[in-house]
Amino acid sequence: MKKAVRLTALAGAAALALAACGAAPEETTGSGEPAASDFTPCIVSDQGGFDDKSFNQLSYEGVTAAAEELGATPHEVESASESDYKGNVESLVAEGCNAIVTVGFALSATTIESAKANPDIDYIIIDDAADADFDGTADAENIKPILYDTAQGAFLAGYLAAGYSEAGKVGTYGGQEFPTVTIFMDGFKQGIDYYNETKGEQVELVGWDGKKGSFTGSFAADPAAKTTAKNIIDQGVDVLFPVGGPIYQGAMDAIADSGKDVAIIGADADFFETDPTTQNVVLTSVLKRMDVSAKEAVVASGNDEFDPTPYVGTLENGGVDIAPLHNFEDKVDPALWEETQALKESIIAGEVEVESYLAE
């Protein structure tokens, strides 16, 4: 056994040695661009971490993009649990951050506290109003809440899915029962109901009845994500709308295993772009452009144009949208797509109301 260990070590060392045989780069004397800015944008995640394929990741991308544009070096801290939030935000303050992006409702209280203690720093909180006293405004003047009325986008997706479904059954499920998740499911349901109303159809929604539904219990592509998807597929749906980061990957596997022709609808980003493996399955995606808004807010802060007014992404301002059909253009009745586009205009115009806790 010892011999085997040695052999393995030897092989490993050899591999390293081979890899280390590259040529050294020329000495570069200050030709590289120095950090153009002394502005330091920072971001702290919630427990999901920056690889959650959801709001942490998109926000992180926004911050990185902003930093690039500003020529700054971003600092980031991932939280492992809620007792880390305070310490992590404080670490960033100690590192001299000028703008701190905090992601998620879980960081709300910490953000407010830190913002009050550090009025010179700009705070941007994603998916939360930072309004602990329920007075309708953020609790500190240097916090910019960024929120998304994703029910509007999901409404369109629901309408589209209902029209697309041949089985007359569509499904949805969430990661955990958070408002930021159920707002998608609510909008989706309203879209289906609207379709049934206007068309006199009976398309059913499995997995959410407006109050209760199916949740995997986490925002991970864990076995529960797939099982939940599988059980919904077993009910005979042909469109599936998984809400919550990577849980859609479970749906992908469940669809592959079922051998059935089930389409999925993406949440947050356009799956067609972000995950090429979904290209043949993704009907459309409900877009929540956190990368864009986070970037804009950070850039504004970097240019001393920070505006603490809350931002609510809607169909109107483009913060929320529905992605193009891509590969499904042939499969979707063009008339349906046109109706969906028209519906979007009606929502913007206020002719069709989408209910959500963010709707005015």
Binding site: A20, G22, Q47, V77, S81, E82, D84, E90, E177
Partner: protein
């Protein structure tokens, strides 16, 4: 499966400086050894000449458990360095042309590792770049702040160890304690400051105690192994708290549908210890008091005497009229109460803005490592808790300033425990002398068997 006798016994070895020879009267060769021992004089006899006394002192230092602990920490930090180097972009870039210009790699390595540990130091002990003194010492107060629940929970695990029980249930005990303390903390109103705080603390400690006591009761009554029971109770507690958090009218904050509680009322919060600028709160003092309490309990009280007797040899304890079942239940109650203190201090001092189902923050498991590192001795737990608190505080700064993933801290912590649990390995690596040159563990095996029989 067996209770982890090694820790508790090791700690008592260390206290008593015992020569762990065997003492089974049944086998003849051991009598032979005993006879020789009596002939050659007691082991503790120091040789008269100075040189050998010095050598002996050196031998004792080098073979003491503390040296092993330090060795384990050093080894684990070396392993952490390797991971840091692996993460660092500069190192990766430079190592690609290692043979062309090796110096670059070493410089990059030095910068990466040096930078990381400098950040760890800056984040956990003192920030020398700080503009004023108060800001400079702030990191150490953060360390103590993180250490507070670790010490309390570590004491809970250590106490159980000493009573021969392996309490893996820290997570569940913290969760129910946090829920109870939190519920009193925000659900009760109109009670003035110290009283409200006291009520919340008592609720938390009691809840933790009951949750652990349940495991103790099952062990004492049915012989169900406490490791399995406490692990299962962790899950039960987690889902129970998740349910309470998701249900309006129970723990969920009114008007919200997030699985999160309302903030703790001001009157139930542990006040800041050294001013509002610092997060450090009176929970740390409670943790220190808990250290003293556990020390007194274990070494000065009759209850602690019974716990230790049951932990070391339950059969002998039973024959001596000690109610082993009662000792099991009550040691778990106290252990759970200590872990409950950790949970209460989390929601009354650490996270007063409302909490969710991960309020235990892995402390229940970290407490095991803290207890092991501290040799299940209250003062050792204090030191180990502060060390791990420093890891947590510094880990955040390491991440913020050097981009080093926090998983490394997890790995370093678990390596420390692994190494500490295997003194022979550390001795082999550092070529330290072995204090027990004779056969050592046969007695342990016997004690384990006795424990098993007593449990059955």
């Amino acid at each position: 499966m067996n209770a982890p006798e090694s820790s508790s016994e090791e700690s008592s070895e260390q206290e008593a400086g015992r020569d762990p020879s065997t003492l089974d009267p049944g086998t003849a060769e051991e009598l032979e050894q005993e006879r020789a021992r009596e002939a050659t004089g007691p082991v503790g006899d120091a040789a008269p000449d100075t040189a050998s006394r010095l050598a002996k002192a050196l031998h004792q230092t080098m073979s003491s458990p503390w040296t092993v602990s330090v060795g384990a920490v050093v080894l684990a930090i070396v392993a952490g360095s390797i991971m840091i180097a692996f993460t660092d972009e500069e190192v990766k870039a430079a190592s690609a042309y290692f043979f062309a210009r090796p110096a670059d790699t070493f410089v990059a390595l030095g910068q990466a590792i040096g930078g990381a540990y400098a950040a760890l130091f800056r984040g956990s002990v003192v920030n020398l770049q700080a503009p004023d003194l108060l800001t400079a010492i702030r990191p150490f107060t953060e360390t103590l702040n993180y250490a507070t629940p670790l010490i309390a929970a570590g004491l809970g695990v250590a106490l159980a160890f000493r009573a021969g029980l392996f309490n893996i249930g820290g997570q569940g005990q913290m969760l129910v304690a946090a829920a109870a303390a939190g519920w009193v903390g925000f659900g009760v109103s109109g009670v003035p400051f110290p009283l409200h705080l006291l009520m919340a603390l008592v609720a938390g400690i009691a809840a933790g105690a009951l949750w652990a006591g349940l495991a103790g009761l099952l062990k004492a009554r049915t012989g169900a192994h406490e490791v399995i029971v406490t692990i299962m109770l962790n899950y039960v507690a987690f889902y129970l708290i998740s349910y309470l958090l998701a249900t309006p009218g129970l723990l969920q904050a009114p008007g919200s549908s997030n699985p999160k509680t309302p903030p703790t009322a001001e009157t139930a919060q542990l006040p800041p210890l050294i001013g509002d600028r610092f997060n450090l709160h009176w929970g740390f003092v409670l943790a220190l008091l808990a250290v003293v309490f556990v020390w007194w309990l274990l070494s000065r009280s009759s209850a602690g005497f019974a716990f230790r007797a049951v932990g070391e040899n339950p059969r002998a304890a039973r024959v001596a009229g000690i109610d082993t079942g009662r000792a099991t239940v009550s040691s778990m109650l106290v252990a759970g109460g200590l872990v409950g203190l950790a949970g209460a201090s989390q929601v009354l001092g650490g996270v007063t803005t409302g909490f969710s189902s991960d309020i235990d923050a892995g402390i229940g498991f970290d407490a095991i490592t803290v207890a092991l590192l501290g040799g299940s001795n209250p003062w050792g737990v204090l030191a180990a808790g502060i060390l791990f608190g420093a890891f947590k505080a510094g880990g955040s700064t390491m991440q913020a300033s050097q981009g080093i993933p926090s998983d490394i801290v997890l790995v370093v912590q678990s390596l420390i425990v692994l190494f500490i649990a295997a003194p022979p390995l550390i001795r082999a690596i550092f070529r330290l002398p072995d204090p027990n040159r004779r056969r050592t563990s046969k007695k342990k095996t016997k004690a384990t068997r006795a424990r098993k029989e007593a449990a059955a």
